[in-house]
Symmetry: C2
Subunit: 144 residues, 2 copies
């Protein structure tokens, strides 16, 4: 069995990068800077399905995603929201979302609420370029 992201992710997000552990997707929602990390291992559902070293690597990619989400955001992020839910799509994945007090949903969580606003082409391209440049910079620095 090999890894593939659940096809359900394609409805709301765009493949953006491959990090050492995770397939990284950009959520297609202009309201929030939002990445989804999917560990590239088949058959995962819960965090406990990963061994401790891989869980630690996932945590580090979550922190990396948080820093990147801050750079994707058109305006400063007030709080990062990190969650592994999986009630809709069971394949293990972690959301990293930048929230602002004026984002329209604050302080409620972003999941299970209507109102997603697809990214316009220019903004989508800007975000994807930032994600690609971040990965490239890490490779050049020898950390990727």
């Amino acid at each position: 069995m090999s890894f593939a992201p659940d096809p359900a992710f394609a409805a709301g997000s765009i493949a953006a990068a491959e990090w050492p552990l995770c397939h990284v997707r950009l959520q297609d929602d202009a309201r929030f800077p939002w990445l989804v990390l999917i560990p590239r291992r088949p058959g995962l559902v819960e965090l406990e399905d990963l061994d401790p070293a891989t869980r630690a690597a996932l945590m580090e990619e979550v922190v990396r995603a948080g820093a990147l989400v801050r750079r994707l955001a058109p305006e400063p992020v007030d709080k990062l929201n990190v969650a592994a839910l999986g009630n809709v799509t069971a394949q293990l994945h972690v959301h990293v979302v930048g929230r602002r007090r004026d984002d329209g949903l604050w302080p409620d969580p972003v999941w299970g609420r209507p109102g997603a606003r697809p990214l316009e082409a220019e903004e989508r391209a800007r975000r994807l370029a930032l994600i690609g440049a971040e990965a490239g910079a890490l490779v050049r620095d020898g950390a990727g």
Copy 2:
């Protein structure tokens, strides 16, 4: 500056255990088996405020909490929901919630929704005893 849990946590949860890293609270809501982990370090807001080794320790306590949540649940858990949000109470904390397809909110997240139902005294005592027994078992096994 020393650690203390934000007083806001007292409104919806009960101090239940002290693990190596986290102050552990039982959410006072009969609808869900639900623990809240608060790393016992002052001044934390985001995961990035912890060093990598401590983040890995937090991840391991999240997994430990997931196993315990499954044991607290009166009926089998279908999915664990893990989240570090902090939009309401900024002090870094991680929710670990056991969800069932018939829990009334599925597949929506539990946060930002009304309807909490305080634990009856007997059920609260049962859950607290299980949490205490789990910590005791780990100490006896030399893993705590």
